[in-house]
Amino acid sequence: MTTPIQPTVHTQRDDHLIAGFTALAITIHIAESALPSLLPGIKPGLANVVTLLVLCRYGWVMAAWVALLRVLVGSILIGTFLSPTFFLSAAGALASVLVLGLLAAVSRAGSPWAVGPLGLGLAAALAHMSGQFWLAYVLFVPHSGLLTLYPVLMSLAAVLGLASGLLTHTVLARLNSSPSKA
């Protein structure tokens, strides 16, 4: 799925790609945060689609950059840098990036157990939600009542994760069927 890339060597094109995709992700993220959320902590997570796209086409390292930069720069732009919201987002992003890395390693092209965008979206969303939840539980609201919320949040994350995976697959199919620009 990826061509091995040394972390210290980036071609100019890759820098531009990361910047471009991060910008796209941040834009979507900011637009999303303007919308009211159905339940606290639940966002459709459309920006995650960008992360998944980058993962499937350019590899895990690039996707990791995009995901983490999005949280960092996004929080600076929105004004939540180093706030509890920032730490929650960072925890979620970190968790999902790690899980995606694991799955990417397992899904080398040709492996019969390769995971596609659907599975990746699902896993990433569950990991993201878990990362956020446990940080919140340990650091901010360590009361057992919060635990009854966890299964509900995870159910929603699963659904939204599958949806984002589906969206990713669709976009990929479109990109592959026409001469791609990026």
Binding site: S155, L156, V159, L160, A163, L166, L167, T170
Partner: protein
């Protein structure tokens, strides 16, 4: 493709949202009235209906509290003054039914429930807003009242006129006024077309109907420790009334003196921690709980009284924590304490 995705997403959201639908709840309100906390639970009524019904009950309770108060000035106080004078007088319509019902229940209890011993109650300090602190009254003072044998039989009712032959008589309906008031409240609710309700006045309750698709769940509090002693389900029309030595009392030199006075000895009854009575009418259940508390833990003493009063079930807890129960309650009572209490079954009612 995007449209299909959005459709699936919408479907999922709807599934989740529908799962959050709450079960219909009972209408519940708490009133601080009648000198206690009165909790009213109504099922199958709209918010507005509930509010109106409870407002009506609040008025009723306030009226009854003023009218029957044993020591604040009011109609009962005036009746007591007139009774003490020995003259014949017209009974206020708000008091007469109470006197007649009280007399009937007193007779059925063999005098163990005796609303005419108001002077004894006052002597022990339980006829006051402030809790009594002791010391217990002198035996001479107690006997001064006791030897005159105040009883409901001394109050002669002739049509609407009352006359009393015994100056030691003072009416204090505290031992069954709550039950009587709860009966009136339930009647009021039934008049309003409400069929499923619980009226709980200071822990004593009467329940009619059910809680929707299941019976009303009643928890009986443990007389000695925090938490619930037993759970029982109530439906149809039933009252659950408990008299206990933990309600009003004072401790003096290591002895607890509770507010339930034994009219035969002039001293507070002491063999039991609590008595819980199951019966349809609340005033009967209230009077019976008092009478059985006075009767004490010996089955030969309390069982005949329970039978004479016609109650449906009795549960007593003695000072050792042992539960005495009529067999009819076996299926219905589920004890909640760990470990389970020792239970002695009496003969059937």
């Amino acid at each position: 493709m995007i449209v299909a995705v959005l459709r699936i997403l919408l479907l999922f959201s709807l599934v989740f949202l529908s799962a959050c639908e709450r079960k219909p709840a009972a209408y519940h309100e708490q009133l601080l009235v009648f000198g206690t906390v009165v909790e009213v639970s109504l099922f199958g009524v709209s918010e507005q209906q509930g509010r109106q019904a409870v407002a009506r009950l609040n008025e009723d309770f306030e009226y009854m509290h003023r009218t029957w108060h044993a020591w604040h000035p009011g109609p009962l106080g005036r009746v007591n003054q007139l009774l003490a004078s020995g003259e014949s007088f017209s009974a206020p319509p708000s008091i007469l039914p109470l006197i007649q019902r009280g007399a009937e229940l007193s007779r059925r209890s063999g005098g163990l429930f005796n609303p005419a011993v108001g002077k004894l109650i006052a002597l022990w300090g339980f006829a006051s807003d402030d809790p009594p602190t002791g010391p217990p009254p002198q035996p001479a003072a107690i006997h001064a009242i006791l030897d005159q044998h105040p009883s409901m039989d001394d109050v002669v009712v002739d049509g609407i006129r009352l006359q009393c032959r015994n100056p030691a008589v003072k009416l204090d309906f505290g031992a069954f006024a709550k039950g009587y008031a709860v009966d009136r409240a339930i009647e009021r609710l039934q008049e309003m077309g409400i069929k499923d309700a619980v009226v709980n006045a200071g822990g004593d309750l009467r329940a009619i109907g059910r809680h929707g698709d299941r019976p009303w769940r009643v928890g009986i509090r443990h007389p000695r420790q925090p938490g619930i002693l037993a759970a029982v389900e109530v439906e149809g029309d039933e009252s659950v009334f408990t008299s206990g030595d933990y309600e009003r009392y004072f401790d003096w030199q290591g002895v607890r003196y509770s507010h339930i006075i034994d009219p035969r000895s002039g001293y507070p009854a002491s063999g039991l921690s609590s008595v819980t009575v199951f019966s349809r009418q609340a005033d009967l259940a209230d009077a019976a709980a008092t009478a059985l508390f006075v009767a004490g833990p010996q089955e030969k003493d309390w069982l005949p009284v329970a039978r004479a009063m016609g109650v449906a079930g009795v549960l007593l807890v003695d000072q050792a924590g042992t539960v005495h129960m009529t067999p009819g309650l076996t299926e219905r009572i589920h004890f909640e304490t760990e470990p389970l209490p020792k239970v002695i079954y009496s003969e059937a009612l």
